[in-house]
């Protein structure tokens, strides 16, 4: 958990922004740019997981739920935009005369949809988090509960075929807020929005981590009960991190829809939720860039290795979990610090961990 000096992190985000927003569109094919857009969506969700899990100690294994809220809100809007005045085609067969389900109606409005993408996860995570944290549900319980929630939601969507498209999901969108999605220029625009949102999320957690709230969050992670005796309600501290991470997942989900062109319950269920965590673990759960880069790496692995060597990819993914967690609990982002530690051989000269050193400088400056 190396703590970089603030300006180093900030310029890192800058470099990342240039790479994503300027370099990538120039050098990548449409196909790979679109894939990169998809990885950005996962990365946005991963940044949130890094905040909740890496810093807050809440292993959210059901981030798919919030990913779904954003994704389905967006998909419903795009479906209606495509269908125009008609009832979406997939609904017709099961009950040709029934009108559009009531909860679809407001999603005709672009404004409502955007609002829903932001507010739905905040409300759901707020209520859920409040209930769980106040009752001091944590650790493995929290992880399993959130995972169960993701499974339940995925099953519910699968079984409500007329209302949600079921297992097949929603797809075949023609427009994105008035832009024709088939137009390569508009595809580029969608990509740029996703990439920019990722940068914004990184900036947000950057500020979180360097703030006092960031320290309080770590304190809550390590000794929740003790925080109580300092006059804070740890439930509130965790709630903030949880809600923010849910919001990020929702944003990731919302952008996933126009980029990938389809959303299904499988993207939000157990396996998908765990895959998001895999990226975060790979990159480094508590670091700033780790979660985003890890999620992108896993996405890329899936697209490329999963393509050339599908059986092998499953094994690699499995081994990735094992090797990273076992040997690099702080992810690949902890590698530089480890190498640095190896070079400085004598422990007597180096009694305090890197964290303390950085902290000291921060105080003195």
């Amino acid at each position: 958990m190396t703590k970089l000096k603030p300006w180093i992190s900030l310029s890192g985000i800058g470099v990342f922004a240039v790479l994503l927003l300027a370099v990538a569109p120039l050098v990548l094919t449409d196909h790979w740019l679109n894939n990169l857009g998809k990885y950005c969506c996962w990365a946005i969700a991963a940044v949130g997981i890094g905040l909740a899990w890496g810093r807050g100690g809440m292993l959210v294994m059901g981030q798919g739920v919030f990913f779904a809220l954003g994704a389905y809100a967006m998909a419903m809007h795009l479906t209606l935009e495509t269908a125009g005045d008609r009832v979406p085609g997939f609904m017709v067969l099961y009950d040709p005369l029934a009108p559009l389900p009531v909860f679809w109606e407001p999603f005709r409005s672009a404004g409502f949809t955007l609002l829903a993408i932001v507010l739905l996860p905040v409300i759901v995570a707020g209520v859920l988090g409040y209930a769980l944290f106040k009752r001091r549900v944590k650790g493995a319980y929290f992880a399993i509960l959130t995972q169960a929630l993701a499974v339940a939601l995925a099953t519910l969507i699968s079984s409500t075929i007329r209302e949600t498209g079921g297992d097949t999901g929603l797809s075949d969108f023609k427009y994105f807020f008035g832009f024709v999605l088939n137009d390569p220029a508009n595809k580029l625009l969608v990509y740029l929005i996703a990439a920019a949102l990722l940068i914004v999320c990184l900036l947000a957690v950057w500020q979180f981590y360097r703030s006092r709230f960031g320290e309080l969050l770590v304190a809550t992670r390590d000794a929740e009960e003790r925080v109580r005796f300092l006059g804070y309600d740890p439930a509130n501290v965790k709630l903030v991190a949880f809600v923010v991470s849910a919001l990020m997942a929702s944003i990731g989900g919302a952008m996933f829809v126009p980029i990938v062109g389809i959303i299904t319950p499988a993207e939000i269920g157990a396996a998908a939720s765990i895959l998001m965590i895999a990226g975060v673990a790979l990159g480094g759960r508590a670091s700033l860039f780790g979660p985003a880069l890890g999620a992108m790496a896993v996405g890329w692995g899936q697209s490329s290795l999963g393509s050339t060597w599908p059986d092998g990819w499953t094994y690699i993914l499995g081994l990735l979990f094992i090797v990273v967690i076992l040997f690099l609990p702080n992810g690949l982002s902890s590698l530089p610090a480890r190498f640095a530690a190896l070079r400085r051989r004598s422990p007597a000269e180096q009694p305090a961990p890197a964290l303390a050193g950085a902290e000291l400088e921060e105080v003195r400056s």
């Binding site: 006092r212 320290e215 770590v218 304190a219 006059g231």
Partner: protein, 263 residues
């Protein structure tokens, strides 16, 4: 609220039928170092648990006009009641400075939480001086020694500006000189605050207590000055030892041999 006293009246705590504290009353005032002693299992820690909201209790515990019982832990803390634990608990991953900064954060606005810290708060600097931890500013608390952690806990109470400090065996594991230093620190602190100490170190108690309450089996056995309490035959029997003064001396600076040993 400066000058308010802590008044505990008829405090009772039960654990599924077992009465751990059965109607205890005592009070503590600013300016004194109040000691709570008694045999293991007498209910001392449980009293503190109840006053700080960790355990449910009945009766009353008032700080000035505020009733503490029935409030949530963090609300009680915000009223100015701080405590330490029999086994020190600090945030291992955070440095001494970060630990103290969090403790000091209570009075900050939520918005300021979102900003990064700049420099060291004067109250933190002062607490570091008081507890002799100034040199450990950047040390992760997890690698402090047992005793240092206890000082850090006290320092956290200081920056928290607690009006009531409930200290559960604060000098356990400290060497003689460290105990002296801690005792003197408590005396300084007590000038403006209520300090209640649970301890088994009778030497320490004799040197620093202004008044003592003795608990036994969840009841107040005796109350008074150190001399009064020591002279109480009941206290001698259940706590200090039947030999009274003699056993107490075993804890003293120069002990008498308990029993000759043959090598």
């Amino acid at each position: 609220m400066t000058g308010a006293s802590l008044v505990v009246t008829d405090l009772r705590v039960e654990f599924s039928g077992f009465v751990a504290v059965g109607g205890v009353s005592f009070d503590a005032h600013p300016g004194e170092v109040r000691f709570l002693i008694g045999p293991n299992g007498a209910g001392k820690t449980t009293c503190i648990d109840a006053v700080t909201g960790l355990t449910k209790g009945t009766g009353s515990a008032r700080l000035g006009d505020e009733e503490l019982l029935g409030k949530q832990v963090h609300k009680i803390v915000r009223l100015g009641v701080g405590r330490t634990f029999q086994t020190a608990s600090v945030f291992d991953e955070l440095t001494v400075l970060q630990n103290l900064d969090i403790a000091a954060g209570l009075r900050r606005s939520p918005v300021s939480l979102l900003r990064a810290r700049r420099g060291v708060d004067p109250s933190i600097e002062q607490a570091l001086e008081e507890t002799g931890l100034a040199g450990e500013l950047a040390t992760p608390a997890g690698i402090l020694s047992h005793g240092q952690k206890q000082w850090l806990e006290i320092a956290m109470l200081l920056v928290q500006d607690a009006k009531v400090l409930l200290l559960d065996e604060p000098v356990a594991g400290m060497s003689h000189d460290e105990r002296t230093a801690t005792g003197e620190l408590l005396q300084r602190i007590a000038a403006k605050r209520i300090v209640l100490v649970v301890e088994h170190d009778m030497d320490f108690m004799r040197r620093f207590a202004t008044r003592v309450t003795v608990l036994h089996q969840g009841q107040v056995l005796s109350q008074g000055t150190v001399a009064e309490v020591q002279a109480d035959p009941q206290v001698q029997e259940v706590y200090l030892g039947t030999a009274g003064a003699a056993t107490t001396a075993a804890m003293a600076v120069v002990p008498e041999p308990l029993k000759p040993t043959e090598d």
